[in-house]
């Protein structure tokens, strides 16, 4: 009997749903004609009810709202992790926090030069161990509280001290540790003092050359202390959002769907031209591009090669390319005996037709790399001549190295173990020569497998036969790389954080004198010493030659094969103007306009 009533209930729901679906279907089609003209985003919700139900009241508001709010909708591949920039490392979080919050310094538009922002200037003492910063006056956080020396100190102390009540145990203040040497006593910043309401003094344990570049990172943006006190560990979550001093104010975050911000009427730099920005998550690249064509969004980042070609021929769209400092490379695992011979490394360097690969796979979206530091950054060495593409020379070098018949198999020089010390490759083992390609597409390596295949074909021409392989998914690949167990040639790359060359060469090779496990066991004490020296040498003019020298050492050593500096394509509707891509940090949206 229960069964029967259940059935009746189900039937009722079914009939009800059918009726509703029918209603909806009708409504959807009645909605269709108006869409004929451009799109909908400029004319938000309130106008929609009119055709269906609601009577007079909704009719009234539109006239008063007359100057329609201009909304810029940007499509992106993933959601933000958190809007508290201090505890995240992903670009999708910074894309949003970069509009809501500001740092003491920022990067001049389209460059990696730090310029004052919330600070009016920061001046070092002679030894560059003390920096005195004068702060901008009259700036308010979005919650109405004042931006001043106390706010700066509150933020820096929160990041630094693990026992600070707002350095929540469940949060990871990753970048502070990475950029300022560690927490608590390990921190290079040993104190931040208030000299007066608008002056703070940073004391460092040693000179830190990229200090201003660090201050300019989106990560070290100043949050409202009152907001952090109010929300506690919820600060930065969808429920709380973020409270800063930036050109846009947090409005709402619907997880996995969109985040929106509105123009800060009081912004010290002058009100933004657009009224609202919405970042919509559209994970699939093709769907994202179609959403742009359908007019659902006004701009997007990252598209497939086919869609880029289509956009180039579409008069309603245009492409901007973000000149991020990135470098894709092919690394050697130095626990492979053959790779310890520079002749073999050189043979591989001469065997890959980088120019051909670039033309086929990247077009305008990349430049050839001859060094790790890209040409857009200072410290770049333009005197280095790249390895020529010369398969015959490769064969000759291989013969000289003792491999007249080419190279297909390599020998493990030392045990390669996993995290639990299980031996994966034993010293003396012979294994096929492997080329590991990235399991996912990264901004510096959009088509890793295809590029890997092209490289394999080039290498085969020179008698070097590789087995194409990868290692699990992204997290697995990263773990294997970190543990130095990608046993062969492997692809990887890097995107700069703060435009300082230490963040490139220093990060990779500035370790100690020991072989660096994370870097395929590469070892070069002279280089490490030079880079560590460059990190503490004050003055860009003094450091620049040091990084140039470092690049020369890497080149002479054939430490790695630098492949490409990629550009990230952005596609916009022709209605959008004024979008300003940044090299590092979030792009600037203040000047964006969207014509209806």
């Amino acid at each position: 009997m229960k069964g029967k009533s259940l059935f009746i209930l189900l039937a009722a729901i079914t009939i009800l749903s059918m009726v509703l679906a029918a209603c909806g279907g009708g409504a959807a089609t009645t909605e269709a004609p108006p869409v004929e003209q451009p799109t909908e985003e400029a004319a938000p919700p309130v106008e929609e009810p009119a055709p269906t139900e609601e009577p007079a009241p909704t009719e009234a508001p539109p006239p008063t709202e007359a100057p329609q709010a201009s909304v810029f909708i940007f499509g992106r591949g993933g959601d933000s992790v958190s809007l508290d920039p201090a505890i995240v490392t992903d670009g999708e979080s910074f894309r949003v926090t970069g509009q809501i919050l500001e740092s003491l310094y920022t990067f001049a538009p389209g460059t990696t030069n730090p310029i004052p922002n919330l600070a009016e200037e920061c001046m070092p003492n002679e030894s560059a161990t003390e920096w005195t910063c004068t702060l901008r006056q009259g700036v308010k956080f979005h919650d109405g509280t004042d931006f001043n020396a106390d706010a700066v100190i509150f933020n820096f102390e929160r990041w630094r001290f693990t026992d600070n009540p707002y350095h929540f145990p469940e949060q990871v203040f990753e970048y502070y540790e990475a950029m300022f040497g560690g927490f608590d006593d390990a921190s290079i910043i040993t104190s931040v003092e208030k000299l007066d309401e608008y002056t703070v003094k940073f004391t460092l344990s040693a000179p830190l050359a990229p200090f201003l570049a660090n201050l300019a990172m989106d990560i070290f943006a100043i949050s409202s202390p009152a907001a952090i006190e109010k929300y506690g560990a919820d600060y930065g979550t969808p429920a709380a959002g973020a409270v800063g001093t930036g050109p846009f104010v947090f409005k709402e975050w619907v997880e996995g769907d969109h985040i929106s911000v509105t123009a800060n009427e009081e912004w010290w730099g002058g009100r933004a031209k657009v009224d609202e920005i919405i970042w919509r998550v559209i994970a699939d690249e093709s769907a994202r591009y179609l959403a742009l064509k359908a007019g659902d969004i006004d701009g997007l980042e990252q598209a497939t090669v086919e869609d880029l070609a289509d956009a180039e021929n579409n008069p309603d769209l245009y492409i901007l390319r973000k000149d991020q400092p990135t470098t894709a490379y092919l690394a050697f695992n130095y626990k492979i005996q053959e790779f310890q011979d520079p002749k073999v490394r050189e043979a591989i360097a001469h065997a890959i037709n980088k120019q051909g690969i670039m033309e086929n796979f990247f077009g305008e979206n990349a430049d050839l790399a001859t060094t790790l530091i890209p040409p857009s950054m200072w410290g770049y060495n333009d005197t280095i001549e790249d390895w020529t593409y010369d398969p015959e020379l490769s064969k000759q070098l291989l013969t000289e190295a003792g491999f007249p018949d080419g190279l297909s198999e390599v020998t493990i020089a030392e045990d390669i173990v996993d995290a639990d010390n299980n031996v994966l490759f034993k010293a003396g083992d012979k294994i096929p020569l492997r080329l590991y390609y990235l399991p996912i597409s990264r901004f510096y390596f959009p088509t890793p497998k295809e590029v890997g295949e092209a490289m394999a074909a080039d290498l085969a021409n020179a008698g070097i036969n590789v087995e194409m392989t990868t290692e699990g998914d992204w997290a697995t690949y990263l773990a294997a790389r970190r543990e130095g167990r990608l046993a062969g040639l492997y692809q990887l790359g890097w995107g700069g954080d703060n435009g300082d060359p230490d963040n490139f060469t220093g990060y990779f090779f500035g370790g100690g004198a020991e072989p660096i496990q994370r870097e395929g066991w590469y070892q070069n004490p002279t280089l490490a010493e030079l880079l560590n020296q460059a990190l503490v040498t004050p003055g860009q003019e003094n450091r620049d030659p040091m990084y140039k020298e470092a690049e020369q050492i890497l080149h002479d050593d054939i430490a790695r094969i630098w492949l490409f500096h990629t550009r990230v394509p952005l596609i916009f509707s022709a209605k959008v103007q004024g979008y300003q891509p940044q090299m590092v940090d979030a792009d600037n949206y203040q000047d964006v306009t969207v014509t209806p």
């Binding site: 229960k2 929609e48 269906t52 490392t89 919820d234 179609l290």
Partner: protein, 350 residues
């Protein structure tokens, strides 16, 4: 019947427990962990070690034998799995490692999105699939029959991914009738109660939101419903054909019962057993298919979220999400079993 249902409900407990063990074990068997995924190219030894410790990932997974050897019984049970189970029993699914917010909170928001899409798709699949199957069976070998069966074969073999993109191209880009993705236009205000947008908008009499939500759900529904619809149509047809060979159907025909009555009164009810079974199973596949549909149509449900969490090794999300999906799947199949009793009086549950 009641005893049977209670028994079945109790039997869900070991099933769910099994799911937790399997998910827990497999997640930790795949190399790479949340610390490595979180740090990306930046990972240094110290950072990884510290994050592992911070999230208790350095503890033994199931039981700590070392602690037992030292006679530390509390330590023996102080393991990742048992701590998780303890929290689970208190209704706590834990916090996302990357997002640092309670998994339950996000599930409460995203799960209704997936269920709304799944139920709506299943509903469409049934109301179209079953009648098509019946008509095909009734007019066996007619042009109509061949057309619908070829059509359903195409439907079964259609990759959701391709179909989704084609639907967007046609209805969103070319015709501009429907939105290309999302669940609701960002300007639409909707007070959320159940987080099922169609239901919430009706409860609050917000018809603008209802129409908007309906416009958004149409394309993903078509993409998601196509395969189950085709399977249900084919199953209905073959099941009806089997039943129509039975003696009692021939008897009914011989007695001069009207064709319509034979079909719907005599044959359909008996043909329904395998159809219901298939519907239950298809529901599971539908939830799996939701990952792709949600990705293409930017539908903020749990499919894509759990999938991404596997890649980022956000263990609590994967555990919470799979647990809920498993629970729903078991529940649906329980409903299927109960419905057997209604459809076939010979089946007794005692």
């Amino acid at each position: 019947m009641v005893r049977y249902v209670i028994r079945r409900l109790i039997s869900i407990i070991p099933t769910i427990l099994g799911v937790t063990i399997v998910v827990f074990m497999f997640l930790r068997l795949i190399p790479g962990d949340p610390a490595v995924a979180m740090l990306g190219e930046h990972a240094t030894e110290e950072n990884v070690a510290r994050i592992r410790e911070q999230f208790g990932l350095n503890r033994p997974v199931f039981l700590d034998r070392e602690a037992l050897k030292q006679g530390d019984l509390k330590g023996f049970f102080n393991t990742q799995y048992l701590l998780y189970l303890g929290r689970l029993l208190r209704g706590d699914l834990g916090n996302s490692i990357h997002r640092r917010i309670p998994v339950a909170e996000t599930l409460a928001q995203r799960f209704p999105a997936t269920m709304e899409l799944a139920f709506f798709s299943m509903f469409i699949a049934i109301i179209i699939g079953v009648p098509v199957g019946i008509i095909s069976a009734a007019r066996r070998n007619s042009v109509l029959d061949s057309t619908t069966m070829v059509g359903s074969l195409v439907g079964v073999s259609m990759p959701i991914f391709w179909l989704g993109i084609m639907l967007i191209m046609l209805f969103a880009v070319t015709l501009q009738w429907l939105p290309a993705g999302g669940r609701l236009d960002s300007g639409i205000e909707l007070k959320t109660i159940t987080n099922f947008h169609l239901i919430d908008s009706l409860i609050t009499l917000n018809f603008a939101a209802f129409v908007n939500a309906l416009q958004h759900i149409i394309l993903p529904t078509i993409a998601l419903a196509t395969i189950p619809m085709a399977v249900i149509a084919r199953m209905t047809r073959s099941s009806m054909l089997d039943v129509m060979q039975e003696d009692y159907v021939r008897t009914a025909h011989a007695k001069g019962v009207a064709e319509r009555s034979v079909l719907y009164k005599h044959a359909l009810k008996n043909a329904f057993l395998p159809i219901i079974t298939i519907i239950g199973l298809q529901f599971g596949l539908l939830l799996a298919g939701a990952v792709l549909t949600e990705t293409i149509f930017s539908w903020p449900g749990i499919g894509k979220w759990v999938y991404d969490s596997i890649l980022s090794r956000d263990y609590p999300i994967v555990q919470g999400g799979t647990l809920l999906i498993a629970f729903i799947f078991v529940l649906i199949n329980l409903l299927v079993d109960i419905s057997y009793g209604y459809l076939d009086p010979r089946i007794h549950y005692d």
